[in-house]
Amino acid sequence: MADLETFRTETRAWLEANCPPDMRTPTEDEDDVVWGGRNPAYKSEGQRLWLERMAAKGWTTPEWPTEYGGGGLSREEAKILAGEMRALGCRSPLSSFGIWMLGPALLKYGNEEQKRRFLPEIVRGEIRWCQGYSEPGSGSDLASLQTKAEDRGDHYLVNGAKIWTSYADKADWIFCLVRTDMAAPKHEGISFLLFDMASPGVSTKPILLISGKSPFCQTFFDDVKVPKEQLVGTLNKGWEIAKYLLTHERNSISSMGGRAHRPVHQVAADSIGLDDRGELADPLLRSDVAHLEIDEIAFELAMERAGDLAKRRQIHPAYSSVLKYYGSELNKRRHEILMSAGGSDSLEWESERSDHGAAARAWLRTKANSIEGGTSEVQLNIVAKRILELPGA
């Protein structure tokens, strides 16, 4: 414990000395998020310095082993680091699918050479990764993927297409599920490949959503050659890695169902006003808002409770599906009510007044909440089968 207190004191001192002042303010827009990569887009010198300094200590990945560039911290030390950063208002130095997704998979399934080759670059934010899972035809049935990688002796030849690859147009490398055995049952012919997005035959196309621009892309592979040493894990056993990453993803799904930054009733009151009793001047909307806010408060507590149960290992491993389902449906309902509250003002799409249709775009964007990261239907299936243990396929 004394050691931990020392660590806390030293960490605080280091952060105070090394975190640039402009990295101690809340992030406001997308430009404030640092993604690194071969051609990093730093908005400020502070962003560059902050990443460089944190990476040098391995604190972009505090718990990864030092031999791969990580911070080598214990769980307790990592918590202290996070707490001190929060206390000082430090921004995250680096956002990265390499850190969130690929790294944990490589640590678990990669060979030594792969770990030495790829992990340090991730720690330093030198390579920006994207994730190639979904395909236009696969949907919720991810294992039905059709992108194929044929064995051509010294390399695999990859052909196919991925969809919903976030930031594929900005990524340097991709970690990708491919089919390496067309004849096997669908879960048994999948492998996990890494390759450079600059390889000949790779192209991307951004996806415009109903809400407007998005980080999502379609990604096409046309005779892409991938060296065999870039296969992670065992050939045809990639589904195991995929499942590991999917669980990892669902567990880290954020608190989208929690209360909004501005209470819905305030948005409604600003738009519609209060009557002479001090009640929202739309009595039926008031009813909708009050019932919504009850559920918002309760859902926040449900997340808190899940965290407390998880700490005590008293939670079902599939419980995240309950929260994913409930939170995304609640968020959709919230934005339907926000649109009602905003009335015709919130239907504007381009005006400055409407902040370029911010309300409408946010509302439309929520419709994906119950699709991305596993649809609501998939979550309900998981709850029914794994938690409630209902019978059937």
């Binding site: 979904s134 949907g139 919720s140 049935d141 039905s144 969809i163 919903w164 996806i207 415009l208 959503l209 109903i210 738009s271 519609i272 739309d282 009595p283 039926l284 909307l285 909708d288 959709k332 339907e336 649109m339 009602s340 905003g342 009335g343 015709s344 003002d345 919130s346 239907l347 504007e348 799409w349 381009e350 005006s351 249709g357 409408a360 509302w363 439309l364 419709k367 994906a368 119950s370 699709i371 991305e372 649809t375 609501s376 239907e377 309900l380």
Partner: protein, 379 residues
């Protein structure tokens, strides 16, 4: 009257359907949207609508129209809903035509209605002033000045307001906002001094505008109907508009549902058509039931408007409330059941979702109409 279309109405539906699907399919909306078309619809196409009789569907035959009723207007609106065609049908052929026909002097009718029926004049009703539809709360001030009036205030959500050749403006000549009494309708030309119009590009790529009145002078003969007694005329026109929007929403909801059913029958997941999954089957059957119940209410509202316009308020509220809710459910289920594809702009479903949302809000949302129904029934 039976709750089915009669033979003439069914023929009208068929001809409207083939006309709209050929001349104004969804690609038409996309083209206007993506080219940032300044008018927001095609004047040429609107002329063709007029040649089909649709622009003058509610205009008396004496003024060059078809002299048909709300049921027929609803039939056309529903077909417009199926392809999301942006047209001045609602503003001009429904709202303005109804207000002028019911409230206009012989001179006013002769001056404006033939142009409307011919597809040459775009006209609209400016009712809303805030984010929500509250016609009794009209505050835009019309004060007497000499022989006429001067108008000061602002209107929002004015359909086709930036291209209208004639604005029918609800203004307050007496009383305070909230009083039904004291409202007067005025016919205002867009060139009037002190009048500024700002097009507001909407989520559904259909036309709307904000219109500001800064001491705009109008003559006494700009009054439509009675001074201080315009509320009934305003509500009368709005009720026809509400029922027409409800019919359009039936078209929007049904088309979104039809596309979803098609997808459920062709898309496979986990080795099955997704339409085989009982979860989706039950939701589809529920949605179908909601849409069917709504259709009955909408048709009844249109019929009652033709039989007894003054007694139609309650059934219009039922129709508008339900049409908004069931179209809203239809588009949400459509996007969800289509999965990620439904979220892409390339796919059409988002356009249905956007139009449904605007239609829900237009002329009062479900909560407004439920509240109105409660008040009418004294609770």
């Amino acid at each position: 009257m039976p709750l089915v279309l009669n033979d003439e109405q069914a023929m009208l539906r068929d001809s409207a359907r083939s006309f709209v699907s050929e001349q104004a399919p969804i690609a038409y909306l996309r083209r206007l949207r993506d080219s940032h078309d300044e008018t927001g619809f095609s004047r040429d196409l609107w002329k063709q609508f007029a040649e089909m009789g649709f622009a003058g569907i509610l205009v008396p035959e004496a003024h060059g129209g078809l002299g048909l009723g709300a049921v027929e207007a609803g039939v056309v609106a529903e077909e417009i809903g199926r392809t999301l065609a942006p047209t001045p049908f609602l503003s001009t052929a429904v709202l303005a035509a109804t207000a002028l026909t019911r409230g206009g002097s012989d001179g006013q009718k002769a001056q404006y209605l033939p142009g409307i029926a011919a597809g040459e004049m775009i006209a609209t009703l400016a009712a809303d002033e805030g984010a929500k539809h509250r016609p009794a709360k009209t505050a835009l001030a019309a004060t007497r000045a000499g022989n006429g009036f001067r108008l000061t205030g602002a209107k929002t959500f004015v359909l086709d307001g930036h291209v209208a050749d004639l604005l029918i403006v609800a203004a307050r000549t007496a009383g305070i906002p909230g009083d039904p009494a004291g409202i007067t309708l005025f016919l205002v030309r867009p060139g009037a001094k002190g009048l500024t119009t700002e097009r507001t590009v909407m989520v559904d790529s259909h036309n709307a505008a904000r219109v500001d009145f800064d001491d705009v002078a109008v003559d006494a003969d700009a009054v439509l109907g009675d001074v201080d007694g315009g509320y009934a005329l305003l509500e009368g026109a709005l009720n026809v508009g509400r029922a027409a929007v409800a019919a359009e929403l039936v078209g929007v909801g049904e088309e979104a549902f039809t596309r979803t059913l098609g997808y459920l029958k062709e898309r496979k997941q986990f080795g099955k058509f997704i339409g085989e999954f009982q979860g989706l089957q039950h939701r589809s059957a529920h949605l179908f039931s909601e849409l069917e119940v709504t259709k009955a209410a909408v048709l009844k509202a249109l019929q009652v408007l033709d039989e007894n316009a003054d007694g139609a308020a309650q059934i219009v509220s039922v129709a508008k409330a339900r049409a908004g809710l069931s179209a809203g459910l239809a588009v949400q289920e459509a996007v969800q059941m289509h999965g990620g594809m439904g979220m892409t702009d390339e796919f059409d479903l988002g356009l249905f979702m956007k139009r449904a949302r605007v239609g829900q809000e237009l002329f009062g949302d479900a909560n407004f109409h439920a509240d109105r129904l409660a008040r009418r029934n004294s609770y």
